[in-house]
Symmetry: C2
DNA sequence: GCAAAAGTGTTACTAGTACACCCATGC
DNA sequence: GCATGGGTGTACTAGTAACACTTTTGC
């Protein structure tokens, strides 16, 4: 019977870079190396519940985080065949900043372009999951899950610009959302930044799903 | 520790309908009900290998079949938490017809609109996997995996028309493939049908991937 | 020669791209 | 009042959608 481990692989955009949340491994083998937060699946819970538990321990709060799944077959030790199930999430940097740091792990956000020495084949899994996320985020309905409300359009634009490493015209970016009738204004504004405050939006209840990119 | 089972869920288009390959359960519980071909994951193989083995036993030969994965957490028996990993495939009806029937299972293709009484929650999984497949098949690169070469455009058109239940203009359908430089003619023709034989095509080596629908 | 299915081109419309100036806020 | 970032409209281009007739084969 295979051993199944649940990985919770969270990405964000910060300081113009795509970053991933990792924790430092405290036990041998690979002590001191970094890894994707994980736990073994138990028979007492569904895998969704197990993933939620890992997420909770990370104390990345107020997330509105959605999970997706990818699976990879490790053959880390011959004869002991471990299967890992990744939950892939994305969290807005604004919400990252306010998350407290009471977690029992030594955790840190790393740029995906400058990953530290990682345990097992976790580096490979991180890059794989990032591609998976990039693909998913092309759909408006998936973006909706990660950003249900109170987001600004410049904020979303930065997400896409860094994720796909492209430059987008601000006016055309807005038009995509407004012409397709995806979003509506809230009465709120984002006052936290320099310059003119950005309007905050929310996704409409019903819209025809499109590929944004 | 969770028990993991590998499901091989193959779809086709036949007689203007989307069909799924099922086998009849020979043992209790649910004896006589239909189910998705499956086996338990073993520690000796990767899950890919296990899925390939199930596929082989189905004797759906010469497939050019590609696999994708979805996962679902069953709670079939309280305390015994079974996880199932689906490999989702699509096979062209032309190739279905020529597959021999030496398999040890009682197997049959069912229209997804008229599914038989199914074991466990397999009906739910089938419909779920179908949605997954429909989403995947919107990408040219995925279609490419299922139809690498020697396909006709009317054949592909029928796949999309039945899968998404839409009508497509033949000229516009062709243009999409030809304008985007996705395919090239082979010297072959499909002579098996009534009417004018259709030209057979193959995907090019390199093309820019697009969403076809 | 006729029934069945495949191949082909042009026009109208719709969606996407390129582009520059003004506006609201903090200091 | 100036630096910073956000909001807005128009002209052009490219892609998509609508549409009918001719060609090849089997019987």
């Amino acid at each position: 019977m295979k051993q199944l481990e649940i990985l919770v692989n969270i990405f964000t955009i910060d300081e113009e870079e795509v970053k991933v949340l990792l924790i430092k491994k405290q036990t041998d083998p690979h002590r001191g190396y970094w890894m994707i937060p994980k736990t073994n699946a138990s028979n007492e819970q569904t895998v969704d519940e197990t993933a939620a538990e890992v997420l909770e321990k990370l104390t990345v709060k107020d997330t509105k985080l959605y999970q997706y799944q990818t699976i990879s077959d490790l053959e880390r030790v011959p004869g002991l065949n471990i299967l890992s199930l990744s939950y892939v999430g994305f969290i807005d940097v604004v919400r990252v900043k306010i998350s407290d740091d009471e977690s029992p792990f030594e955790k840190e956000w790393f740029s995906v372009n400058k990953l530290p020495k990682m345990a097992y084949n976790h580096q490979h899994i991180v890059l794989n999951n990032l591609e998976f996320l990039k693909e998913k985020l092309k759909k408006a309905s998936v973006l909706n899950l990660f950003f249900p409300s109170d987001f600004s359009l410049p904020e979303l634009q930065r997400v896409y610009e860094r994720l796909y490493n492209i430059e987008i015209d601000r006016r055309n970016f807005r038009k995509k959302f407004i012409n397709h009738d995806l979003i509506e204004e809230t009465s709120l504004k984002n006052e936290d930044t320099r310059g003119r405050p950005s309007k905050l939006y929310m996704f409409k209840e019903n819209y025809e799903d499109i590929y944004l990119f």
